[in-house]
């Protein structure tokens, strides 16, 4: 007899909503910062720590994201990544969801990430974080160019937003991408615009080895995931590559097919979330 045991493919009830970073209230931001501070305080080798999760993308080796960038797994791999990081943040006991930064509308680093200190005077963990020592060591010992060496010499993440020659995707460009009906063409174009944002933010966000250490990485990729969700809703008839469906998104123990429906993972997107407790 069926017991109704929960599975990852069962739609969660009710789903939670990821908010826009610019629409979050002060208490919501405070809760997010507290959750972030807790995972940042854990030892780097603790598999609940910020350092552990940020390191999965780049250094220290292995660079798991190599199966994603410039490849068809770009979107499902990062969806699985965000999902696991969000779970790590929620495991701190705070009711938080990853916010998204709509760079088509907010043409600057959002205040929540730009402010060096919180309203209470403490350092803002969304502004800059310390990079894992092992990642820095591997970066210094590696065979990169002068830029890689420069990044490896900076143990705290920094940004250089909007340098001449950079480009932040526009609303019309994303609107055009959303019109593509073919998944691979949509993915390829969105992947390129995603790269534009990494380069626009500058500093450690610019290259793969350290990008995920910058807290704004998550807001950027949550926006990318949101655009994919919008595309999925707009093109429900679009097929997903069959050879990709069963591909494992390492190291998240999820296949691409398992992350196709965000509501099966318990989340969706909204402009803002207002919750009232009695």
């Amino acid at each position: 007899m069926a017991t109704g045991a929960p599975s990852i493919q069962r739609q969660a009830q009710p789903v939670r909503h990821r908010p826009s970073i610019t629409e979050m209230t002060a208490p919501q931001l405070q809760e997010l910062r507290e959750a972030l501070a807790k995972v940042l305080a854990l030892k780097p080798h603790d598999d609940r720590s910020y350092q552990f999760w940020a390191g999965i993308h780049g250094l220290p080796l292995p660079m798991y994201c190599d199966i994603a960038h410039g490849r068809p797994a770009f979107l499902p791999w990062h969806r699985a990544y965000l999902y696991r990081v969000e779970q790590a943040l929620r495991d701190t006991g705070h009711d938080v969801m990853l916010p998204w930064w709509d760079w088509t509308k907010v043409r600057r680093v959002p205040d929540a990430y730009a402010e060096e200190t919180r309203p209470d005077g403490h350092p803002n963990p969304m502004h800059s974080v310390r990079i894992n020592d092992l990642a820095i060591q591997q970066g210094l010992e590696g065979r990169g160019d002068e830029r890689s060496e420069r990044l490896a010499q900076r143990p705290d993440t920094f940004r250089e937003p909007g340098l001449p020659g950079t480009h932040l995707p526009t609303a019309s460009e994303i609107s055009r991408v959303l019109q593509y009906r073919d998944f691979q063409r949509f993915t390829s174009n969105l992947d390129d615009y995603h790269g534009n944002v990494h380069i626009w933010v500058g500093g450690h966000m610019t290259d793969i080895p350290y990008a995920a250490y910058d807290p704004i990485f998550w807001a950027h990729h949550t926006m990318i995931d949101r655009v994919w969700r919008m595309w999925q809703l707009r093109h429900p008839e679009a097929s997903f590559p069959s050879q990709l469906r069963n591909m494992v998104m390492e190291p998240f123990h999820l296949t691409a097919g398992m992350v196709l429906d965000p509501t099966a993972l318990g989340y969706d997107y909204s402009l803002n979330v207002t919750q009232v407790r009695p």
Binding site: L59, D66, G144, P164, S188, D192, I208, P209
Partner: protein
């Protein structure tokens, strides 16, 4: 290669007469092992440079972005992409630095050219941002480029 200027490619009559719905440029085996950059693509605009406007009127067709691997951080051979025949029983994924293919839709820029030219010259500029302005860098590397028009 920091700047690529193709030889003129003859445009098929159907393209010159506008009998197509869209067109792509596909770059094969693009290297992504080093730092990040954006490759700006221009059509029939050989005098463009790093500071050229991203306007169709200036010949700008589109761009692709390489989110770079940033160098090699393993031991000797770690970043060597094997070129030998792959074991048919080897189910491991591709080597992480296997070169990528990049597609740029160039429909708008092609329509600007219209019937004015019977050939297509592609200029690709690898751009990295800098405090003093956009810079051309020795980053762009690919094996071939293909122009495809669709009806």
């Amino acid at each position: 290669m920091e700047r690529f200027d193709s030889d003129p490619m003859p445009l098929p009559p159907a393209v010159r007469e506008g009998e197509y719905s869209s067109a792509d440029l596909i770059f094969y085996d693009v290297d992504h092992s080093s730092r990040s950059f954006e490759a700006l693509i221009f059509l029939n605009a050989s005098d463009v440079g790093a500071a050229s406007e991203r306007e169709v009127e200036a010949g700008f067709a589109g761009s692709f972005v390489i989110f770079g691997h940033g160098g090699c951080f393993g031991d000797e051979g770690h970043c060597h992409v094997p070129t030998h025949h792959k074991d048919p029983f080897d189910s491991r994924p591709l080597h992480p630095l296997t070169a990528q293919a990049k597609t740029v839709e160039v429909t708008g820029a092609l329509k600007r050219i219209g019937a004015d030219s019977d050939s297509l010259t592609v200029t690709a500029l690898a751009i990295v941002p800098g405090a003093d302005g956009p810079q051309l860098r020795d980053l762009l590397s690919f094996s071939s480029m293909r122009f495809v028009a669709y009806d």
